[in-house]
């Protein structure tokens, strides 16, 4: 199933919303930069950079890949580790 709307109509509808959210991201990153101290070594900052790169790189299923980027890894041996 796909959206009944065309890509062009979808972009037209989403454009201002996307622009607004991108500005929110840019302003929040500026805010971090302006604040005292540094977060260069903070893994969360690295994760955000990775997320932005994922969006720029394009490709399908961006939302799913972004979710996985922010997820802890699953280990299939967990039951043995927990003894259950």
């Amino acid at each position: 199933m796909t959206t009944p709307m065309s890509a062009s109509d979808t972009l037209a509808r989403e454009f201002l919303g996307i622009r607004s959210r991108l500005l929110d991201v840019a302003a929040a990153l500026d805010r971090v930069d302006r604040a005292a101290g540094a977060v260069g070594d903070d893994p969360r900052a690295a994760k955000l950079r990775e997320a932005l790169e994922l969006l720029v790189a394009g490709g399908a299923e961006r939302a799913e890949r972004l979710q996985l980027l922010f997820s802890l890894p699953y280990q299939d041996q967990w039951r043995r580790q927990y003894g259950v």
Binding site: Q67, L68, L72, Y74, R79, Y82, V84
Partner: protein
């Protein structure tokens, strides 16, 4: 359009909310037992809460023409205390027999710990022993993917599980396919910031289809919206989806899922 909100915490909402939901077309709600925002001091506190969910809230909803059903369980956050959980689990059979209880929920994992798993196994065993439906909470944020896969591992290992009577709730883009592919119902929770927005829920329906998909507000004491399901309806209509498809997600699907409980007696009127 009439709709179900199959997962909402009415105990945390005002009568004004119920009125707004009724006016928007809500006819049935499902209320799973959950964490109240603070740990309870004893199992008696759970006892009173279960009474609220099976006696008071059905009445409060009925005053607005909404049918109220509940799920009984101990939430994953308080399940970390295994001894305390055992005390609460011992209370459940009495309430599972109440005429508006659909099954055991919301149960699941929070931080995916060994203790949480121990409690969860007890709850699942109780559900399967009693032939109850189950509603699963999946963890928040970075814990969701791992916890969802652990829950699915546990269920897959038990041959007694009838997947058509289980809902994996709070699914997002990285977990919804896991639930659907294994034959479970997939719940999508519509939240303003965490979980999924109505727009992203509509994306998931477009991406994976409407079969075994449920949407809910899970509205509680935190940032949430008791009118999130009608907001989803609006988003779907705005995109040009037919009412038949929207109705399947917000009415027909939860009706079918809930109908598998012996205690579910709601009968839809003519065309909603």
């Amino acid at each position: 359009m009439q709709f179900f909100d199959p997962h909402i915490h009415i105990a945390s909402r005002t009568t004004d909310d119920l009125l707004a939901m009724a006016k928007a077309g809500c006819v049935v709600v499902g209320e799973p037992a959950f964490w109240m925002g603070y740990n309870r001091s004893g199992s008696n506190s759970f006892y009173d809460y279960f009474r609220q969910l099976t006696e008071w809230e059905p009445q409060r909803c009925a005053n607005h023409g909404i049918r109220h059903y509940a799920w009984m369980g101990i939430n994953a956050k308080e399940a970390e205390d295994v001894g305390f959980s055992r005390e609460v689990i011992a209370l459940l059979p009495e309430f599972l027999d109440k005429p508006t209880v659909l099954g055991i929920g919301e149960i699941g994992l929070h931080k995916n710990t060994k203790n949480e798993v121990t409690t969860l196994l007890s709850l699942i065993d109780l559900a399967l022993t009693r032939d109850e439906q189950m509603l699963f909470h999946t963890p928040h944020l970075e814990d969701k993917y791992k916890g969802t896969r652990m829950i699915l591992d546990i269920l897959r290992a038990d041959s007694r599980v009838d997947r058509s009577r289980v809902c994996i709730d709070h699914c997002e883009e990285h977990t919804v396919r896991l639930a659907l592919d294994e034959g479970y119902w997939a719940g999508i929770t519509l939240y303003p910031t965490t979980k999924a927005t109505p727009e992203r829920a509509a994306d998931m329906v477009e991406r994976y289809g409407a079969e075994r998909m449920l949407v809910n507000s899970s509205a509680d004491w935190g940032p949430s919206d008791p009118l999130a399901v009608p907001q989803f309806i609006f988003v779907m209509r705005r995109r040009g989806h037919p009412d038949s498809l929207i109705r399947k997600v917000v009415f027909d699907n939860p009706l079918k899922f809930f109908n598998q409980s012996v205690h579910f007696t709601y009968a839809p009127h003519e065309q909603a």
